[in-house]
Point group: C2
Chain length 230, copies 2
DNA sequence: GCAAAAGTGTTCCAATTACACCCATGC
DNA sequence: GCATGGGTGTAATTGGAACACTTTTGC
């Protein structure tokens, strides 16, 4: 499950299935583990097949194993889902056994106008909740930003993933005050409009203590339709 | 991986392996998934084989999948580890293919005086960290307590799992002030010494908001030897 | 009375929140 | 000048940490 943020929206890479079952349906990209390969290595290999990205520039973590005997009509398939977070990418090339791959807003993929194959809707919801939770306790949000990036860009990542706006000044204090989160480059970026912003790179810290918690009071964005439930 | 708290110590159920490889070594109990069975169902079945407990009285959750091709010398075995938390139990009966099962303090199992089979030391460390983290954000600690229980008993669960003492008064305010954590029974328990304590049952709440965070300042207990690292 | 554990009250401090306000730039 | 987003200052509030203190029991 590969997440990115494009046009201030959280998006997920989906493929149009070229084989039965669920021919023509959208599905999360995936594949089979090979002999002599760990699950981490298999996930990384599949990731490279779908995107041009190598594993160093993005975040990859194991999510959950899905094991309902009926989840695949072809037979008994147990899937160990992985979650990858990466910066905005060019439109991807088609994978090995996929007719086409494309970025889709997570909101529309969950809303269910076009149902996902297998139990991938469940996996997607779990991945979304994991990503939202990770933003509270870790610094992975920076994995969504192509370096170098500004504090405002990082804040818009949080707003896209969480689905509500944050107070810009408090957010700035929090992330700049967290040791090892951001490393100033000394450079500045001159936007089309407004004051230029300082540029940063990802720092060595991976944990956010104290955490940056989602407030109970939410300010939904216009394009957000789904709720924050479990 | 079945955890319990006995004698104010976090303990884990280990079996002495009766077969090669690692014959005679201690190992986490486990088994193979059957056709037509989910991983959750398999974990519950294995749990019932090792203990007399049914799944309703304890907490069971998926932990992580372990997939190193070399982790089992017999061949390619991928293990999906589960974490179970339950109240103090009588000494367990031996499982199906285990010579003997016994409760062992997690501290001694990790210290490595007796090394665990396969990569079970890694799995145990991951499970310990998950349990410690769950106590911060959820109400699962109550799963360790036979009902009904007192606030002091619940606090000693936290102290055993986290490995340091908590302030009794602040702890009491926190747990009694969390809606749905504890349900007063109206009864009291008269200990051998000291003032009698009110008795509670587990409430419907499963999340602890705001969380009950482990302090950065720790007060190690005497029998604790291992650190809090990742 | 004394020890021990339960339970209450209070003060101090760290962190978040809400919001006012200033800054630097392009047009 | 003015709109726009970057960035600083500050008061109010929340919640945790520390610890003094009272209560209720068995001996």
């Amino acid at each position: 499950m590969i997440f990115t943020v494009r046009q201030d929206q959280l998006q997920v890479l989906l493929i149009d299935r070229g084989n039965e079952p669920y021919l023509g349906c959208a599905a999360l990209p995936g594949g089979f583990v090979r002999d002599g390969e760990t699950l981490d290595e298999a996930a990384l290999r599949e990731l490279r097949e779908e995107t041009a990205l190598d594993g160093r520039t993005l975040h990859l973590e194991q999510l959950h194993a899905y094991s309902d005997p009926e989840r695949d009509p072809r037979g008994r398939i147990i899937t160990v889902a992985y979650l990858a977070l990466g910066p905005n990418l060019p439109p991807p090339v088609a994978g090995t056994d996929a007719a086409a791959a494309h970025w889709t807003p997570v909101s529309s993929a969950i809303d269910g106008d076009m149902p996902l194959a297998f139990d991938h809707a469940t996996i997607l919801k779990d991945g979304l909740e994991r990503a939202r939770s990770q933003l509270e306790h870790t610094t992975v949000a920076a994995a969504f930003c192509p370096e170098p990036f500004t504090v405002g860009e990082l804040r818009r990542i949080y707003e896209a993933v969480w689905g509500f706006k944050l107070d810009a000044s408090n957010f700035r204090r929090k992330v700049t005050g967290t040791e090892g989160f951001l490393i100033p480059t000394g450079e500045r970026r001159f936007p089309e409009v407004g004051r230029p912003a300082a540029l940063y790179c990802r720092g060595p810290a991976s944990l956010l203590v104290p955490p940056l918690l989602r407030s109970s009071e939410v300010f939904p964005l216009s394009h957000e339709r789904f709720s924050i439930g479990t």
